[in-house]
Assembly symmetry: D3
Homo-oligomer: 285 residues x 6
């Protein structure tokens, strides 16, 4: 290719943002359409590699619900959910781990490496990165866990070596068994524990809407208190609740800013980073 | 517990071996019964953690054939082999990766961590650790690969951080696709590339036998030339050929000693390490 | 500002170039219109700071002929030249040093720092960075020197600290006196000594022309031998000769590529870096 | 040799203790029969080298009373004691130093090195490791000192280099003269200053006895307060008092556990380390 | 040369002072006759290089008023002063910077390097070392600044590399413009910021005199309070006031001792350093 | 004290020598009158500490023949010599070690520390620093050894920590027993192994004399060949032969210069170091 002066100028306009995030950790919950659509996925991986090369420290956290359900069905097991949480018996847990750590994770690692990054896939069991305990619930959900501790030592070792960590959200239980943990929640805890500069949750909606029915009612910035009030008052959609919880946990844990953005938009990550106002909804302490 | 004088003396007898292997890399191909039998598996993980704490650098490489076949069958796909190599179409490859990297690998990682180690699971795609190309064969075996390159940078980063690497043998192909590679072969190449002190292949036989029919005809030591001659002359059993190839590749690549040992024996690894004569068959350059 | 998707895409297109030059040293001879025109100057400083933040190691080398002549005239001294070289008596040398090291250099340092870089100005006398001896010539030119040695230790110290070096081309003579040395020549020697990836000479012409009269006859790439032939055959313009010499010295000293580019074009540096074909003329070994 | 499975299992049983003491400092006051009997001495040196190789940081402190008395008598000087403390005139001090630093110390160093360790002998004068002042007493004991300060810098330098320090208890006085200091006391202060995990005093008794007459009345654990009470109440034997003082000083100075063990038992050190209940008497804060 | 025993003894007498200042930072305001007289200048540079080689960390700060005035006159501009401060319009500022950073600074750097040191010249604009704001005054003095901040990072980088920093007192203003700042004041602030062991101001008087008329009334030591009282009471000469201010700022900022010495005496620096009582006047907190 | 200008100037005259030996290792064989006379001894220790503080790396090697003989006689044992070598039975060896490592060595260590250095005493057995084998001789000399190997690792560790090593010449034999080795010879081998800049042997004569009878016939410089010829031709005095051998071994092993100087002269070390022509006799390759 050949850069024109105008194109080169666009690079220069990114400079203030590059300087601001130099050496800073940015935790990205990767999911939704951006993980399914091949073109979007390639774009996200390019964005992440670019972030790495201009001096940021991106940390990717992913779940992979649809792929799990698909493999379950191929194995003759019907997925079932209670309040949005997957009922996870031992056999289901084995499938969850196999799919998240062996399929989704390695597929993302490969896609980043194809863009010239050096990604290393981890599950929460590697080096006891994520420790969970059984989540309390009205009905027994089996191996559904709640994050109790994040041990970020391995992430620091990888960062020092120049590697990009990609984390699948299978956690290690008290007796070494595996637990299925919510990826939004892991991302929020991880961001807090790493004292990340930013948490970015990639979703399939534009952000938090004032009125769920009105896509033009996007709230571009709000405080943690306002976000919690939205949950309490029932104005937040059910799918949005764990995302708001994750953002609030992050900013209350010391993260500057948490963002809920629309991963269906190409280059959503870069548009979020290289901007003053951001896209989607920003939650601050 | 309470050590008696006699028990303490046994520790002291290990001292010459501990000194000899202090800071040295030992590549272990983990497989067979020792990976299936839960008690043997726990024992191997204890042995590996002990090796780590007394100053060695164990690197585990594993395949996981039986588990792959089992999941394939559960998914309604009949495994098929040509000359001992699994015919690996795209769907099979996906299953191989899911099982090896998501199930077998994490299960070993968890077992080591339960013994107090800090294991990190990798597949050959992480940080492009293992690069493969399509293996040539008379019939098209699909995604069966041949190791072309090992990039050990990530292993050095992990060793410096005090982590024990556990490697599943899925490789990264020229266009980023996944390849199924033979675990013995990966272990041999890895040992050579890391200038390991030792390569240890855990099998379900006592070692190389002079006469395949006679379990008492164990050859305790032989040269690479003698081992190759055994293959050429047809005296080596078919299952033994890839193991001999791996050992010969390792010692010709600079590894001091390669061992084929009987993983069905409890504490086989320690019996191999803390001994002058070793168990099983030792191949040297 | 707010990046559009299209603008973000332009960033991503820079990725292959960012990866290629990551951690690499790029020596830039800064001069001509780009140093005089305030808007161009601001642009060059932005480009340099951007290069620094995306992982390159830019080293700036500058002269400052017009400013020297101007101050000389203000001090009542008429500049005089022989074959394009300034006749430099002791008083002139003092003015040269005062202007280059005290005015031009600090002005560039300040401009880079205003863009968010951390520049440190050096003259060739600092830490004996550039050692020169009296240049031989038909007439005595006084303190005009020829580079004899480059001591890059201080540049490595500054690079490790994250500073951008800006070097004015006053050299240290055998008895500690100052010498006026040609900036193109210093840049070429410096690039060779630092095993730089690239040498870029910013000029006020489009590059080397096949026919000096025809601005459309730009040669976009040539070998060192072809460039030298051009000098020998008299087809190179007199102003171009020291530039060709510097490029040839650099590539023969191990630099991959040397470029003569048109500094009058805004964003010339970035257009040169983020491109396959480059702008201006590229000379390779 | 050839390890049996049973023997290998004993190694594995040591793993929890190896993990617990990994990287921890253990100060050992070496003395009594274990320093006189050649077989016991060889055993202690093996134990210390093993401790070093499995990741602990043993620090040996020794006196050498009997050897001093013997050399004194060979030189025609009759040893004399007041309250168990050697009357130390200038000539005696010279003999003490010669024997401890030149004979006992180098003999231990040599014995450790023969077992494959890398020992370095120090006296308290080397790098001003132990600074003493004249001990106050009813009668003038001459150069008998009381520890005033421990300067552990040299121990950290040696530990970083992988060396095992062996310290003879001659201290440096305020004017640079040598002082004879009690080895138990030095070990206690050293352990406190190094924030050691353990202090182990090797003696010629089973530990602290409830009833000095009854060897079966061993107290296996007691608090510092209980131990001090034992001294105050006169129930502790005179020889035991400095040992109790040393243990109490250590645990009050931050050491987890102090132990008085029976050095006449072969492998006493390992039996103490690789055990839950320990041998001898343990004193804790 | 050939050292006699007596000469060698003088070296040894320096030992206590060498030990005391080993690894310590000493900020020297260089100025007055010692900067003008060529023999004195050579002597100061030798002293500084000696200080460096015996383990101290000298930092030189210099102004250069007379040279500035001289160049101004050569350019047809009459210097003018208000209350001892130079009226500094934009053109004057340009001359100040050119002379200080391009002539005086490089001349000192060259003189140190001729003595075997490795000096690096800096102005306050390099790496934003000195940040100033416009000084408030009754009449507008133009670009006369007051030090607001010292960023010593570059000094630490240079010290780690074994370089001797030489700093000209041009500061960086809020909008990147240059400011003329008082060298005494910079030296005082720099010493405080670097937690220097000593600040030494080289002047053309013996020190602070009890009676300005009586050169024999030198005060050899005084407290910061006493010095301030001297200023308030009008007993300090006008030229001495900024020097007293600098000393007081330094010692109140944590510097052990500040000295006003007579730079007209050869070897004044060494006589100050290698002495108990010092020469000139010492101010302490 | 108070330095005069003249005294300060003497410091400055040392500067070229300080620069030349900065960071260089200088091995000093300390012995003769300089070790016996208390005032000379204090002087040598001051010189060594000064050398350390001005950046050199002095390494002291010492024997202690007269003290050994004196202690032997006090113990009722008559010293006996064959060809200048002490007949060393087991009991004598024990006395040699006790005196050298426990008395002479610690006395030197203490004297250096009193001057403000941080000395650490070593014998050749510490960290196997000096390995010897039985010296061959016409009559059995017992434990008289010949240096076979020097393991300088511990010296590098100590140098990195800022410690001054003081080495007594007791070596470690093949089976761990102690050997009495010649101190000149150890110093020569040590200098060669450390690639020292200088070896200095302190003796009780002015140097090598052309005519042993004529103290004015000092040879100030000679080549290794000339020195060896002097030995072969019988013109070297018997006491001088091991010293010449040590110097020749050093310079042939890569040491720049070896010196035989008169330790009876106060400040002999500094007079040797801070001089062009040196004192005594210099031997070069």
């Amino acid at each position: 290719m050949q850069y024109t002066e105008e194109q080169a100028s666009i690079l220069v306009e990114a400079l203030p943002y590059i300087r601001r995030y130099y050496g800073k950790t940015i935790v990205i919950k990767y999911g939704g359409a951006a993980m399914v659509d091949e073109r979007l996925k390639e774009g996200v991986c390019q964005d992440v590699v670019l972030m790495h090369y201009v001096g940021m420290r991106p940390v990717l956290v992913h779940g992979g619900g649809p792929e799990v359900s698909e493999v379950m069905r191929r194995l003759g097991k019907e997925p079932s959910f209670v309040n949005g949480l997957r009922v996870t018996d031992a056999e289901t847990m084995e499938i969850v781990e196999m799919v998240l750590a062996g399929k989704t994770n390695k597929s993302i690692v490969g896609a980043i490496n194809r863009q010239g990054g050096q990604a290393v896939g981890l599950s929460g069991r590697d080096a006891d990165l994520i420790v969970a305990e059984k989540a309390e619930a009205e009905v027994d959900l089996g191996f559904v866990g709640r994050v109790r501790q994040v041990n970020p030592g391995i992430l620091e070792t990888l960062a020092a070596g120049g590697y990009i960590p990609v984390i699948s959200t299978v956690a290690c239980g008290p007796d070494g068994e595996s637990y299925n943990v919510n990826a939004d929640s892991v991302a929020g805890e991880m961001a807090a524990r790493l004292k990340a500069e930013k948490l970015i949750l990639m979703t399939d909606v534009p952000g938090i809407l004032q009125d769920v029915q009105d896509p033009d009612s996007l709230i571009s910035a709000m405080s943690a208190d306002e976000a919690m009030e939205m949950v309490r008052s029932g104005r937040a959609s059910r799918g949005m609740i764990p995302k708001i919880d994750a953002c609030v946990a992050a900013v209350r844990g010391g993260v500057e800013r948490a963002h809920i953005i629309d991963g269906r938009r190409p280059r959503a990550l870069l548009m979020e980073i290289f901007t003053d106002t951001g896209i989607g909804t920003m939650i601050t302490a």
